[in-house]
């Protein structure tokens, strides 16, 4: 991988990583952790949806599985938090692979794939809401025991850096995918699946790898959510909100780009905070802005903010050269 590809990642990491050094307000750090968790979930969506063109409307299935696996293993089986975190990621990836195997084998794509992922997330939500091991509707608490070996920290700044480290790791992973043979095949599937198949690409295998990676990353976001808030219930874990967040951020930021999900998540939640400040505490007002922004983005910026920036740079660069 060239330095040119890693430069923007480094800049983004330093910019965000420096904030806790200067700001100690809890609201700001909370905002950062939450936005980074969303960015991580969105990065997962981006691998399958952005690069692979398979629009999932049910990434909550993976977020929730990561979250519940981490929480249940810790609180019911007393397994170490870091191990539970890793198992959560693996569980999410496995669920992703299974859902992918079932739906891609049946040739589902487009709207049908969106619907089936949505339905899986709903089934998980209903099950988690009704079964005993997940704590049912009351949810599940992870015991407060602030020690580094428990993946619990007194300082919120540490959480910012951990979340950031995960986001950066996935940024590097995505940049690597973009340049790899697997990434090229994935984009070929997005652009024209029939043609890719005719050229000898094992499209099923490519899509399955993509959904497992995608689900694993989003599951990491879910497990991180549990470590930070120490609580999870079915509507948080498997609710539509997280499926929508995971999809919105890449679409707004730029689907199928390395930085798109992070840029989108920061933009959306920044905008959400601004709207809430301007409009007062009217419930749902920030989401009204999200919905409007999604429509505007699809209409006028099909490649998101990253796409707009590229177009702008090309125009300025072209003007300077002439």
């Amino acid at each position: 991988m060239t330095g040119r590809a890693l430069m923007p990642i480094l800049v983004a990491a330093l910019l965000i990583g420096a904030i806790p050094l200067f700001v100690s307000a809890n609201t700001v750090l909370n905002f950062l952790v939450f936005t980074l968790i969303i960015a991580l979930a969105a990065q997962g969506w981006n691998i399958l949806g952005g690069y692979g063109g398979q629009f999932s409307f049910g990434h909550a299935a993976f977020f929730g599985t990561g979250a519940y696996a981490a929480a249940i293993l810790q609180s019911r089986f007393g397994i170490n938090a870091w191990a539970a975190f890793a198992i959560g990621i693996a569980a999410g990836a496995a669920i992703g692979w299974i859902i992918g195997y079932l739906s891609f084998r049946s040739g589902l794509r487009g709207s049908y794939f969106a619907l089936v992922t949505l339905a899986f997330a709903e089934v998980f939500r209903i099950l988690a809401n009704a079964s005993a091991i997940t704590g049912g509707a009351a949810g599940l608490l992870v015991k407060l025991d602030v020690r580094p070996e428990n993946f619990q920290f007194a300082s919120r700044a540490v959480f910012v850096w951990i979340a950031l480290a995960l986001v950066v790791a996935v940024l590097v992973l995505t940049a690597w995918i973009e340049r790899s043979r697997f990434g090229a095949q994935l984009v070929a599937v997005r652009e024209n699946e029939g043609a890719a198949k005719a050229l000898g690409v094992d499209t099923l295998k490519v899509k399955l790898t993509a959904i497992a990676l995608s689900a694993g990353v989003t599951a990491a976001a879910g497990a991180l959510y549990v470590q930070y808030f120490l609580y999870i219930d079915a509507n948080i874990a498997y609710g539509t909100w997280i499926s929508v967040e995971a999809l919105l951020a890449p679409i707004i930021g730029g689907a199928g780009t390395v930085l798109g999900p992070l840029v989108g998540a920061v933009t959306l939640h920044g905008l959400g905070e601004i709207t809430k400040t301007l409009a007062g505490r009217v419930p749902g007002i920030d989401l009204v802005a999200f919905g409007a922004l999604l429509i505007v983005a699809v209409a006028f910026a099909p490649d998101g903010i990253i796409g707009l920036a590229r177009r702008l740079r090309a125009r300025i660069g072209g003007g300077g050269g002439a």
Binding site: F55, S103, V116, A119, V123, G284, G291, A292, L294, V298
Partner: protein
């Protein structure tokens, strides 16, 4: 667990009556899918909006929910026409993935605008006939739900006749079959798309009027219906009107029986399992043409 035949029969009949209104909601969805080949994710939010409209007309002007069909069906037809013509159409540039995203954006927008405007309280309408029952042999049937059943079946037949007998219906079917050919013989495709979307929304308005005497409304109520409607549409075959009716009745009965045997919290799971199964095994549905 074994229930007496009378209880099971009552669950089946109740399921049929709920199913008819489900069918009406699904009808709008399947119509739009059959013609525009898109899944309208804003369908649930539009239903919620229609239900709030019924509630507002009742609480502000004392208008009976059934009479509210008269102003609301044309109003929602116009609304749907405008949304497709001026928002979904232009914003999506004719790309299927974009249409999916634009309707998702609309759904988030409408749902949360309603939340901001009406807050999350659950509201109901009290009518004189809300708890009236009709005796049919050993069964006691709720009067408003019986009316809902009859009206939903009537609207389905009416819509089917419109599509098969009128010029507008022929134009809609022509666009559904072959967009380019239809535009070559002088059919305005953009207009037909918008009319179809408008008809879908008018179905929702009628469904909302039929639901409100026995149901409640809050900003998220549409979500529950839209997932059921997706199931019905997939089960009945995307684009098939008889499929939507039969699928709706079937799903109503499944939900009712699952509720009886599994309890309320797991009652809906039967629907989603059917949904996933049909999608995986036969995505063209029971009545749909082979893809």
């Amino acid at each position: 667990m074994l229930y007496s035949p009378a209880i099971v029969a009552e669950a089946v009949v109740n399921g049929l009556m709920t199913g008819a209104v489900y069918a009406l909601v699904a009808l709008g969805l399947t119509l739009v899918y059959g013609v525009l080949h898109i899944i309208n994710f804003a369908h649930g939010a539009l239903l919620t909006a229609a239900m709030f409209a019924v509630w507002v007309l009742h609480s502000a002007f004392g208008l009976d929910p059934y009479l509210a069909i008269l102003p609301l069906a044309p109003l929602f037809f116009g609304l749907g026409y405008a949304v497709q013509r001026f928002v979904i159409g232009p914003a999506s540039h004719g790309d299927d993935g974009n249409i999916l995203l634009v309707t998702l954006g609309l759904s988030i927008l409408i749902e949360n605008a309603l939340l901001a405007g009406f807050r999350s309280d659950t509201r109901t309408i009290a009518t004189d006939y809300g708890f009236q029952v009709v005796e049919a042999g050993p069964l006691l049937l709720s009067m408003p739900r019986l009316i809902g059943f009859a009206a939903a079946v009537a609207v389905t037949v009416l819509l089917w006749l419109t599509l098969s007998r009128t010029d507008t219906g022929r134009a809609i079917r022509a666009v559904a079959k072959e967009k380019l050919g239809a535009s070559l013989v002088g059919i305005n495709v953009g207009h037909v798309y918008a009319v179809t979307f408008g008809l879908g929304c008018a179905c929702l308005a009628v469904a909302a009027c039929l639901l409100m005497p026995t149901f409640y409304v809050n900003p998220r109520v549409g979500n529950a219906f839209v997932l059921v409607a997706f199931t019905i549409v997939v089960l009945g075959g995307m684009g098939s009107i008889p499929g939507a009716l039969i699928g709706g009745l079937f799903i109503g009965v499944v939900e009712s029986l699952c509720g009886l045997y599994l309890g309320d919290s797991l009652g809906q799971i039967g629907i989603f399992l059917i949904f996933i199964l049909v999608l995986l095994v036969r995505p063209t549905g029971l009545f749909g043409a082979k893809a």
